[in-house]
Assembly symmetry: C2
Homo-oligomer: 445 residues x 2
């Protein structure tokens, strides 16, 4: 088992494009509500088998932060039919790989095996959708594992501390402000009863998406799915996601972490923006292009001016984290060159942004950005796992297969005016948090 | 009806001292769980009658912010026995006063009348503890009243916006970060069913404290209470307050509001500190003394140095908001003199604080602060309503009558070392939010 948190950046899955002419994806629904997506890929005799549940950390009940991620760990603890460790042992013996991850909006389980082993994977995964057996003997030690994971990867890392504090400041009310792994004092209180209640609420066929990518045909997947997942009874009521909404944001915020472990200062900024699901038509695509123009690689505006021309930054970039159910984050960052303060760097970033709004976007820059975004996505189709993951993340955050397929065309349709409008509207510091990561202060008040 | 929000500052009720030799307060509990406190005050033939419910905005269910305050409004909408307006009309005809307020931790209803009318007040107040009748016809218009209250007092006031944003940034997880009045988009969704569910959960004798101050004897109050409140059946289960706890705070934060309506810039800072209920013994009292030394009036350190000596501030002060159930706020503020920026002012405040830690506290300053705090409290005993309110707020936030009575002795026992320790431990910028209120920026990025 290689259980992992999805970090905020990685969860913005890089999407393949030109999918209208891409694989012939089919989807159907079993009688119990399970949605099934089949992505044929006959280049090699392997399959990627994923089950996505439409619940993530943002669905953790109040006071139970971390339960989604904790349950992901507990899903490896065995069932009545298959004791702890058997599933992973079988995968290893078959030469396969497995993984699991928890995001803000979903929890997913993944195996990659030779095609003939798909039925075994489906049988095991269907079995643990309802058959999980939890005793205090496995729950308590696993909770310690998670607490140790939190201590190592969050509490001991000033950069992670800053990230958590920025998200907490950006989302004053919405649960994206709570870390996926949870707050330590709440993880400590998670019990077997909490885990079972959560499991029984969310781990149901109506709440899941099965994605099978690889050397298979839809009819075969349907038959196998009916023999395995199809035997699970639907729950009385489909789980609903009820999340608090952000109030209007009117105050710009900064967050500063000083820590002796910091060697490289970092400046960051997160703006609260719409996601692919919540944006007006074309707006999310404009934000995607905007992120690429401002900060996608070494030809981007921020990198070119700050790192190459003015040499005040060692690096600079931007990212739009559009694949979320609710309003999301547009992210800027820069590392200062030696002798440059973060305040100077921030002022320089804001100067570049202001000048960008004045200058506008020339056609060549726009086309280069769009071509690159679409090309990245087309290349991504080479990766069976990446494609499966893109569909899984999209379908778990309120999008459809058509939304994914038409993404390249929608990116292609973005005009310079839409990108500038998105920048003017959404790069609003009253809806943003700036973050400063710094070494220990000499004289802290 | 003069319904009012308790603002964050006013809720730190100024406490009377030397109460060991003060009024002979008695308390008892009715069979249905109602706690009763009688504060004799025979100087005039009047009584103050208050009912405090141990639920405030911090107990609002997730997604239902504002429900505590909304219900406070709805408590004036009449019962089966007494239609809307009758209670208030009777009070007015008797020459009395009434009020109601909602805080983070409590909701309270208050009348002040000539002593012979106490039985009538008790009958009315007991009646609406269980007899409230709500129809959609009264709920919907009252919700509009609250929304208008929010628009006028919060949304249209940049200072209130800054306050809300600071609390939201200070409390990343705990509900003190949510405004007492609620967020507009959640108030809009509050229904009759929500109000009734909340009422039935919290408005019970076990969850209430009755405070009667004035020209009465305990036995008379007991008899009257048994005839009125005593007839109410206890609820099956005493309401529990289950609130999320703050994770450790490690990042210092700032919040900035720019608004064209701002004429006087303001600098503020809130530190997260223990309250009287959560602090180690003596620690809250040390914070109280610290606030007075730093910023209590015109002889305080911040005022003297910044406003009198250096003339860079027009005003400066500090306040400890100790009367809360959970961890609370220690508050600093300063107004800049003309030509002084908020950054300069903040640096000056931090310089004064750092120098204070170096210089320590001389005995005369410490004694002056303690004497003044205790004297203020003794004077406050002159006010029947203030005394009733102090006991009500204390008993609603987890303290006891003895805690209140012994407060002057505990303040008197505070030593200089304890004050300095409290300053070193709690005036920690990693646990604080600084706030900047400024006019509109000329060139906002």
């Amino acid at each position: 088992m290689d259980s992992a948190l999805v970090d905020q950046k990685a969860s913005a899955v890089s999407p393949p494009k030109d999918l209208e002419s891409g694989p012939n994806i089919s989807s159907f629904r079993l009688d119990n509500g399970l949605e099934v997506v089949v992505i044929p890929d006959h280049r090699a005799p392997v399959v990627t088998h994923m089950v996505w549940y439409r619940n993530g950390s943002a669905d953790d009940p109040p006071g139970k932060s971390g339960i989604a991620h904790f349950l992901e760990h507990l899903m490896f603890k065995g069932t009545a039919a298959h004791p702890q460790g058997e599933f992973s042992k079988v995968i290893a013996e078959l030469g396969g790989q497995e993984n699991a991850f928890t995001g803000n909006d979903y929890t997913a389980y993944f195996q990659r095996v030779a095609k003939q082993h798909l039925p075994v994977m489906m049988a095991f995964e269907a079995d643990r959708m309802t058959g999980l057996q939890l005793t205090d003997e496995v729950v308590a030690p696993e909770r310690d594992v998670v607490l140790e994971e939190r201590r190592m990867h969050c509490d001991a890392d000033p950069g992670a501390q800053l990230g958590e504090a920025m998200q907490a400041a950006l989302f004053t009310h919405h649960p994206y402000g709570t870390p996926i792994i949870g707050w330590a004092h709440e993880i400590e209180g998670l019990s077997r009863a909490d885990a079972l209640a959560y499991y029984q609420r969310f781990y149901t066929p109506q709440n899941a998406v099965l994605i099978v990518a690889g050397d298979v045909e839809p009819e075969e997947v349907r038959r196998l799915a009916e023999e395995t997942y199809g035997k699970i009874k639907p729950l009385g009521e489909t789980p609903q996601r009820r999340r608090p909404k952000e109030p209007p944001q009117l105050a710009r915020r900064t967050v500063t972490v000083n820590d002796e472990k910091v060697e490289q200062p970092v400046w960051q900024r997160c703006y609260l923006t719409p996601s692919y699901r919540t944006a007006a038509p074309g707006e999310a695509e404009a934000l995607e292009v905007l992120a690429h123009i401002l900060g996608g690689g070494q030809t981007s505006l921020l990198y070119r001016i700050l790192a190459v021309e003015e040499r005040i930054a060692a690096a600079a970039g931007a990212q739009y984290m559009g694949t979320t159910l609710d309003d999301t984050r547009f992210f800027l960052y820069a590392l200062p060159a030696p002798g440059v303060t973060l305040e100077q760097l921030e002022q320089a970033v804001d100067r570049v942004l202001a000048q960008f709004l004045v200058d506008g976007i020339d056609e060549a820059t726009l086309e280069r950005a769009k071509t690159r975004l679409i090309a990245d996505a087309v290349y991504a189709q080479d990766s069976q796992a990446m494609l499966a993951r893109w569909y899984g993340a999209s379908l778990s955050t309120g999008l459809t297969i058509d939304d994914v397929k038409q993404w390249p065309a929608r990116i292609d349709a973005v005009g310079a005016a839409a990108v500038l409008d998105a920048a003017k509207k959404h790069l609003d510091r009253r809806k943003a948090v700036s973050g400063f990561l710094l070494p220990e202060e000499k004289a802290a008040a």
